[in-house]
């Protein structure tokens, strides 16, 4: 059984990105499961003084990443970039370098926003950051715009093409050789 660790970049109770993560979980193959890390809001601001003895929520996140086969992050976009809480958590995870559980870890990024552009720039910056940390990042984007109308109750996009793109992203997340012929870009 493969484990995909899901992280929502939004702390909002009714987050579209948390919903999208759950939808993604329903598309995973039978031999894979989604485990959602829901303690992002407990992680304090990164302080390099504490990187060798990080707070417990940081340890929990690092352990969850270490125990997963792959990481799937669904991110909103704040001012065209990564939400501060999410970037902060990744900064903790990346330190100290020798104990960085994202090194060589498969990772993929999706995103949703109520605006037109589906967090497309936050996704690009997040892929860049994950790559800098050492993750093997799937080079795909899934911008779900106007998310309040684009997602069904179960978290799957209502647009069939978007569901197919999400499936292709998950396939490639679990198998780097998968989805070579699938579309790489999707409009919101």
């Amino acid at each position: 059984m493969s484990t995909v660790l899901g992280i929502s970049g939004s702390l909002r109770r009714d987050s579209h990105n948390t919903l999208l993560l759950r939808g993604a979980g329903t598309l995973l193959p039978r031999d894979a499961e989604l485990v959602v890390f829901d303690r992002l809001g407990e992680i304090p601001p990164f302080n390099e003084d504490d990187e060798h003895q990080p707070p417990e929520p940081v340890l929990a996140l690092k352990d969850a990443i270490a125990g997963a086969d792959a990481v799937l992050i669904s991110t909103p976009e704040y001012n065209h970039s990564i939400p501060g809480a999410l970037k902060n958590a990744l900064d903790w995870v990346s330190r100290p370098h020798a104990e960085n559980p994202l090194q060589g870890k498969r990772a993929a990024v999706v995103g949703a926003s109520t605006g037109l552009f589906g967090a497309v720039w936050a996704q690009a910056e997040l892929r860049k950051v994950l790559g800098a940390i050492g993750a093997e990042v799937v080079d795909r984007e899934l911008p779900i715009g106007q998310a309040d109308e684009a997602l069904g109750e179960e978290g799957l996009p209502l647009d069939r093409d978007a569901v197919d793109a999400l499936s292709a992203t998950l396939d490639e997340l679990l198998d780097p050789s998968a989805g070579a012929d699938a579309p790489t870009q999707l409009a919101a």
Binding site: T114, L116, F117, V120, Q123, G145, Q146, E149, Q185, A187
Partner: protein, 184 residues
């Protein structure tokens, strides 16, 4: 100058029935998807002079823009787009109105938006007149025109991570009017 209106359209002033009309726009975003918005506060009229010369004019209150996302509405009101605080109205006044026998309509006129005035050509159709159940004479006008928003100072854009730009520069203006003749 104007060509004669259809013989069947009476002289006089035809004003917009806002309950049955629509003033909006459409623009491509993310390269392939289409976003539509509309305005809720507008008025205008088709005036047919005694010699049969028609003129179409109208105004739109920019702050009545209706989109589904409040953050987007705020961005559209900012100087990146409409700059609503300094430019409250969009106006249009025709310089020629051509009506073909089959109802095809071509309207040229001056569109003023964000302090910029350019001539645009709108094409569509006119139907009627038709008398409604209350005895009012009505005509229907459908018009579309494409403008380059940059010519009007609506220049915001951003490159997409995988190529292309967030918003197309061409914006289609979509007007669907039900006009009722005054004193009909």
């Amino acid at each position: 100058m104007s060509v004669a209106a259809p013989q069947t359209i009476n002289t006089g002033t035809w004003t917009i029935d806002k309950v049955h009309s629509h003033v909006g726009f459409a623009v491509k975003h993310m390269v392939v998807a289409t976003f539509r918005g509309s305005f809720e506060d507008y008025d205008g009229a088709l005036t047919v002079a005694e010699d049969g010369t028609p003129e179409l004019q109208g105004r739109v209150a920019v702050d009545s823009i209706k989109v589904k996302d409040e953050n987007l509405a705020g961005h559209l009101s900012s100087p990146d787009f409409f700059d609503t605080a300094n430019h409250g109205e969009i106006t249009f006044r025709s310089t020629s109105v051509d009506v073909a026998e089959d109802g095809r309509l071509e309207v040229e006129g001056d569109l003023t938006l964000k302090g910029h005035t350019h001539q645009v050509t709108a094409r569509g159709s006119i139907t009627g007149p038709h008398q409604d159940i209350a005895g009012n004479d009505k005509v229907g006008v459908e018009l579309e025109a494409v403008i380059d928003r940059r010519e009007y100072g609506l220049e915001w854009n951003a490159p997409l991570p995988k190529g292309g730009f967030a918003l197309d520069n061409d914006v289609k203006l979509e007007v669907s009017l039900e006009l009722v003749r005054e004193d009909s």
